[in-house]
């Protein structure tokens, strides 16, 4: 199986993970399909960057920024605030396995280990923990950055300005 097939398959799973959270957060039904699509696009962006040798932090930041940008465009079409699309769509990128290993590592560090093993565990746990921290921050940042750059308090105002200049999105 080529890596593009794997990428597409994982895109589908990213979409379903996003949709599960959307249902849990009780989003309006009209937004469900777009949340699936945004989740899949963001996740595939992340995986593609990882495939081309980028780190997990930059890959997650790119994926979530893409979701943040598209969520503004979709917000106009579906008349819902951007965060309703963006929050469920970025959640599948949360590094669950890394967080799990970090927690196990922290518990192990609280116990009595041999000094050699302790150093090894400390290095691994610090590495996993910092990755989790920075990935979470870049997920939240990616969602917020597009709204900050447009310097508007609401996606609706953005639409009014675009209309005024005659460039409907």
């Amino acid at each position: 199986m080529g890596w593009t097939t794997t990428l597409l398959e994982n895109g589908i799973w990213f979409g379903f993970a996003a949709m599960g959270f959307a249902v849990l957060f009780n989003v309006p039904v009209r937004t469900l399909f777009y949340i699936w699509l945004l989740g899949a696009l963001g996740g595939m962006t992340k995986l593609a960057l990882l495939h081309f040798g980028q780190g997990i932090i930059i890959a997650s930041l790119s994926g979530s920024t893409l979701i943040g940008l598209f969520s503004i465009a979709v917000a106009h079409r579906k008349h819902s605030p951007p965060l309703i699309f963006a929050i469920p769509a970025v959640i599948p990128m949360v590094p669950g396995i890394l967080a799990y290993r970090m927690i196990l590592g922290l518990i192990a560090l609280a116990g009595d280990l041999q000094p050699d093993l302790y150093m090894k565990m400390l290095t691994e746990t610090a590495n996993n923990g910092l990755k989790v921290l920075f990935v979470l921050m870049s997920l939240a940042g990616g969602v917020a950055i597009p709204m900050l750059i447009t310097r508007k308090e609401s996606a609706k105002e953005l639409k009014l300005i675009l209309k005024h200049h005659g460039t409907e999105m």
């Binding site: 799973w13 959270f21 959307a22 937004t31 819902s80 970025v90 669950g96 940042g141 609401s154």
Partner: protein, 257 residues
């Protein structure tokens, strides 16, 4: 005359706080709450000052011309993420500006929004379970792992819903759900004869509990300058994560893994 204006101010203030507390409990960030309340108040020609916290909102509404002020405080209902309400109030706030709604109209719309039906349970449970299986696949799990995660998430979420109905402490509900899901995930992978723990299934079975809304709202509040609310939301997300971790560890202890 003054009595009439006072009555009107009081009605508007009550309605504004209803909007604000609903948004807070449904999972909107602080900036959005402030913008929405201010936007609605301005269409009625009043100035408002707001103090927004996690558990209560304070509002001062003023009419500079007549030198009238009115203060009011309202507790926030229990926090349960509900994006239909956030979306509905956002739409409504623009219609109020464009169509000049009355307070009565707004209150009727708020009643309608709060009684809107949720997704039925038989849709939520399988879809969230499918999301769990998707997480498992993305973490590198195979088909049997995905089935285990599906079942674990399904039952875990069911336990969480039941625990919430029984009015247990919120963090305790998360702990029960995490414990159930990880017990099932570990139990199934041991039963199926692999003889060892399937890490993918075990770790991803609790991911449906991750506090996405508190953590993302924490960040967006902080960069917006609402540091206090940001810290409180972040701490809330941290305690939820801790409850999840505790559930996992209890399951590991029970199976002596």
């Amino acid at each position: 005359m003054e009595q009439e204006i006072k009555k009107e101010m009081k009605d508007i203030a009550n309605m504004l706080l209803e909007v604000g507390t609903l948004l807070m409990s449904a999972g909107a960030n602080t900036g959005r709450i402030r913008n929405t309340v201010t936007r609605i108040a301005e269409t009625f020609g009043y100035n408002t000052e707001l103090l927004i916290t996690q558990r209560a909102l304070t509002l001062t509404i003023s009419d500079e011309e007549n030198n009238l002020y009115f203060d009011i405080l309202k507790r926030t209902p229990t926090h349960t993420v509900n994006f239909s309400i956030v979306s509905g109030i956002s739409l409504m706030s623009w219609r109020i500006v464009e169509e000049k709604w009355t307070v009565h109209q707004i209150n009727t719309e708020l009643d309608r929004l709060t009684t809107l039906p949720h997704f039925p349970r038989f849709i939520i449970l399988p879809l969230v379970a499918l999301a769990g299986a998707a997480f498992c696949r993305l973490a590198g799990g195979t088909a049997p792992d995905m089935i285990i995660t599906f079942i674990a998430t399904f039952v875990g979420l069911f336990i969480r819903q039941e625990a919430t109905k029984m009015r247990f402490n919120f963090y305790l509900c998360v702990y029960f759900a995490a414990l159930t899901a990880s017990l099932i995930a570990a139990g199934l992978s041991l039963m199926m004869g692999w003889g060892h723990l399937q890490e993918h299934a075990f770790a991803t079975s609790v991911l449906f509990l991750i506090p996405g809304v508190p953590l993302i709202n924490s960040f967006s509040d902080m960069i917006d300058g609402n540091l206090q609310n940001g810290i409180i939301r972040g701490l809330n997300g941290f305690i939820i994560s801790f409850a999840i971790a505790l559930g996992l560890l209890t399951a590991k202890f029970i199976y002596q893994l």
